[in-house]
Symmetry: C2
Subunit: 329 residues, 2 copies
């Protein structure tokens, strides 16, 4: 598997942390200091949507790959939330790309913040099977619509974004590869990070303005951190061992941009130096499923990640899940 | 790939079509005559949920396969709608199965009514890769919460249900196999069958009691029928040809139980005799993603489908998509 193009798209509205300070009635500097996020982007619902952003990121990935939309053989939407209850988001991105009458297969994969990594794993199997040549993966999430403005910890952290990649089979002279992928899920911890309502348990028609909370994002930061700190080190050891890789051979670590504390934990538990860990938290916040691919995209575009570099993509997700992939770019 | 166990679960509340007649202010018999549905099941939200039903179906599939929950290596939720906005439904089913602290991977695949077929295709690749031995696929949907009671065509048709299967690698002496799978998506037709609200485009917090319509199921039956009639025959020809199968060698056709008219169209366009087409529409209605696997389960349990029988699983989905798989059971 070879990543032949990447792209990103951000909403037009840039929101500095001072704006959040003011909305939270905190002193200037509180949000940035606490969360490590300097700025994030929030969608304008009148002119933008998850599918327009997703398609915009896809178009950039196609350009970088030197392909036309029509060269894509499979469209995987790998988002943590959906555009509509029904159908999934992939079909809307297909339509935005001008492929809405093409018959090209499009479906959704969802593992919340780890959707992108699961989609890479599924895509690599499709490539190996020879069924598809060029696979487009889009991860896009609009966190801003479900933020609880009275919960400073998550309000200061979340942002909206889209990212996309195109993968195909590596040529014989290419070193590009997916060396391994691992996902570990712990459903007992599903309440640590969730939006309780909006599905069939508490359908939107039950929404009550006097109690919006069940329809807004809930995060138990302390216990999520505790959960991750208990599992991360062992998880990474298994992933590296199953991938037949050693941490010393990894040039870049692209973590899910979960939080400042979460990323510090990755550094500490993996005993890695700062310059191997790539961060975009300060400029985008935590953008759910887009977080890993947008960080990958920026690091590739800036020349930080180069061909043949070995990368560990690693993260946690609501669920709770831990997930990781080792690739040679 | 071999299906080694199947299961189903239905809500406790059985709803006869006469009840729907009364709610719709129609004469007794109208609903059954128009839709072909004699009865369907609606969930009791106080004691049942998509994950309890999904887990119940999974337990039955495990029993049929002679396995314990702990023997499962991967859990794929393949539903058309979700339990909550976040996280996906697979983690909740994992938890219900007592595996919530197991770390066993669990994620969601969504292609609306065709989610089950896409999951079978993904599962077969995982089995071939040797990564997982026993894969549990659950398709469960609770249509009743989003039904528009003022739209007789869809109200008379939809029902709630869950179905599950376990697949593993076929042994050397087994004929069981997935011969081929195909998905064709046409995003230009996404408005034919949808729930517009509830996602990030029209978030649940925008729900307004005076205008619930955007949060309820919408179906343009006539144009959906027209779309399918234009594409089905050609789609099945491609699927069979890519699977290297001939329609005459297929013993059973398990269609998505979309509607009476839709299933008559399958019969006509495939020029098949009635006894090859398996129907459960009359007893469950259209149960979205559960529709194909629950029909498969019933046909296996009744002895109608036997080992080594060749089956065509075929359907359409909101999106719009056409999907099909050819298997030897």
């Amino acid at each position: 598997m070879k990543i032949i193009g990447t792209g990103k798209a951000l909403p037009k509205r840039l929101v500095h942390s001072i704006e959040i300070d003011e909305l939270l009635n905190k002193e200037h500097g509180w949000t940035q200091k606490t969360s490590g996020v300097i700025q994030r982007y929030f969608l304008d619902p009148d002119s933008e949507s998850v599918s327009t952003l997703g398609a915009q990121a896809a178009v950039q990935a196609l350009e970088n790959a030197g392909l036309e939309a029509n060269d894509v053989d499979l469209i995987l939407s790998a988002c943590g939330t959906q555009k509509q209850i029904l159908p999934g988001t992939a079909v809307f991105i297909q339509k935005e790309l001008g492929l809405g009458d093409s018959g090209k297969p499009a479906f959704d994969i969802n593992a919340t913040c780890l959707s992108f990594l699961v989609a890479i794993d599924v895509a690599s199997m499709y490539l190996e099977s020879g069924k598809y040549k060029n696979i487009l993966i889009i991860s896009a999430d609009i966190a801003s619509v479900g933020i609880n403005h009275e919960h400073p910890e998550s309000f200061s952290l979340l942002g909206d974004a889209a990212a996309a990649i195109i993968v195909n089979n590596a040529g014989e002279s290419d070193n590009s590869s997916l060396h391994g992928f691992k996902l570990s899920t712990y459903g007992d911890y599903s309440s640590l990070c969730q939006i309780r309502g909006g599905g069939t348990d508490l359908y939107p028609t039950k929404f009550d303005k006097s109690n919006p909370q069940p329809f807004l994002f809930e995060m138990d930061g302390m216990n999520s951190y505790k959960f991750v700190s208990q599992h991360l080190s062992c998880f990474v050891d298994s992933l590296l061992s199953e991938s037949k890789q050693d941490i010393s051979s990894i040039q870049h670590i692209i973590p899910h941009q979960a939080s400042k504390l979460g990323m510090a934990l990755v550094k500490r538990q993996l005993s890695i130096k700062d310059d191997r860990l790539v961060s975009t938290l300060e400029k985008y916040g935590n953008t759910i499923s887009a977080s890993i691919p947008i960080t990958l995209h920026d690091a590739i575009c800036s020349g930080h990640i180069r061909r043949d570099d070995k990368c560990l993509l690693i993260g946690t997700a609501a669920g709770m899940s831990l997930g990781g992939a080792v690739i040679t770019y």
